[in-house]
Symmetry: C2
Amino acid sequence: MSKSNKIYLDYASATPVDERVFQVMQKITKENFANAGAIHEFGVSSEILLSQNREEVAQILGAHADEIIFTSGATESNNLAILGTVQKNNLHIVTTNIEHASVLETCKYLDLPAGRQGNQEIEVTYVPVEENGIVNPEKIRKALKKNTVLVSVMYANNEIGTIQPIKEIAKVIRNFNKVNSTKVIFHTDATQAMNYLPINVEKLGVDLLSLNSGKIYGPKGVGLLYVKRKTPITKIMHGGEQEFNLRPGTENIPLIVGITLALKITEKMKEKEAKRLTTLRDYFFAKLLKLQYEIKINGDSVERLPNNVNITIPKIPSDLLVIELSAHGIYASEKSACKSGDKKASHVIQALREGVDEGSLRFSLGRSTTKKDIDYTVKSLESILTKLSKWYT
Amino acid sequence: MSKSNKIYLDYASATPVDERVFQVMQKITKENFANAGAIHEFGVSSEILLSQNREEVAQILGAHADEIIFTSGATESNNLAILGTVQKNNLHIVTTNIEHASVLETCKYLDLPAGRQGNQEIEVTYVPVEENGIVNPEKIRKALKKNTVLVSVMYANNEIGTIQPIKEIAKVIRNFNKVNSTKVIFHTDATQAMNYLPINVEKLGVDLLSLNSGKIYGPKGVGLLYVKRKTPITKIMHGGEQEFNLRPGTENIPLIVGITLALKITEKMKEKEAKRLTTLRDYFFAKLLKLQYEIKINGDSVERLPNNVNITIPKIPSDLLVIELSAHGIYASEKSACKSGDKKASHVIQALREGVDEGSLRFSLGRSTTKKDIDYTVKSLESILTKLSKWYT
């Protein structure tokens, strides 16, 4: 981000809209505002656009068009995936202790004894990740029970960027399903993974997969849930019968066209961009470790997203670091922005080092990030640490 | 809509985006993409924009900023209003039989004996409207019980445009609450009313009010729920603590700025536009009634939205009429577009004339509609009726 010399390193939190996506959405907003449910010519043209885009999305994911449910974002997709599949009493869910808040809080809600779920008894197992921030598929296997209905494990973590062994977990579930009467549904939140990792749902072996447009250089306010055919799921909001009766509300043609093109562009540049950013990320880590300050890398150094640099600098408050960096024109993040309203330590960092209440600093790189940005960032961080360490060490 | 000589008369279904709203959203999309939850300077600027817009919306509604919850649209707002307030067993809801699907289907879901609500026992009274499509507040009063928790009555109907006596119903509820221990919450869906009717929440006397951007010349994909302070309500989706912990997900600054400006423009031109369209609507009705065909007006002819013309032409299928009109370049609607996937008669029309299964044709006027459009539409309809009546009468 060269604009007015600011260095934006918070791409995991929000991405700018790709210029091509922006242009197409402008056109659609002007030309195709009709309700896709209307049967006049103008409505039909919206309906056609909707179908075409759904088909294109399906192709990218290796899915069928009728398996793509457009939502308002990954938070809604994750809520639909969990609340929509856990519909009876005495069921069991398996997840990990480093999921995004939209998965974790939904599980916690179902875990509660009271609430709208009435006398529903839902049990949740939060499988702890290893010290490197990756879950052991064997531990998922051990957590499965006869009444397990859903396993939800994110594809890549939003804070520390660790990549979870989704294919291996899918295999564990397939084997379990072979010898059990109840079918365990496998959900993954692929929001952060989409930019850099393969996304074919069949190869991954998932039944449900969440994506968000606002993290892949598409417009905010739209996401999707892939729902494999025959997966038992019901809607969580009620109204019209849009989106195969799984998500009511007027279909948002401009945003749907936006996420579709964003997915196409992302898919096309994924491999090259992953290579470029992996090099840049490792260069960033190497420079950080050369500084004369104690710096811990959070999460596995190999099995992590190419754009994720997450560190802990002991003793120095991470929110202060973010603010100091901001004063230098560098935009980074402490914890996940989605939870930064509260002042508790990140549940993800706590999951890595039990009992240690430490802050964390996340730099997330993106399409505009250059080597020069990294050099300037490390240099700035060094001078900030020189200043702050007098007070905090 | 002069564009390529098409006459768009489906504004109740979807509105184009106002050019000023469009321009502002473009700017914001480019300049303020940062996550409002981030604590760096760029995130803070998003957070400030969010607060400013929330404050402006509150002023328009005569509310406090902390009473405005931004959602993905009125369908979500209505779901939040109902599912979020009906959280315990053995409660009772009062609504009418002509509500929008997002209210009616949500009530029906709660009304079911099974489902995620577990053993929850919720009773719903669907108060029938009178023959003119307006509910009698006295019938609402009679429907109230000791365990009534929520009354949900739309401000103006989306199909037939009838305006409900919201103030009178609010008074009925206030009086009921004075002598009862449980407080009845009053919700209104004001989606269709916003363009033409006063919207001050205090004067209306409501606790909850839903609005949608996509029907007031704002962007699709954003709406809001006004939640009066101290109203007991909980979120229906889980995740981050955005929107005063009532609606999770990254705040959508471009869309929020869009709905805010759309509301401001609508509020400013409301009175003048209501007068202009009332004249045009009555002119339209007068011309229709002069045709040599049997035409019934659906809904009260006075207490109706200035832009709504809804008629039944007996014997001739209304979907055929919409398609014939479309071939003449005129875009109208049969029933409500939100339900046009199914082929049952409209629940609203059925509510007006019990036992009669008739179609309906809706013309909804808007900011670009002219007298010339109406003249051409009536002339076209006449020639269509001349052609079709040979086959259907």
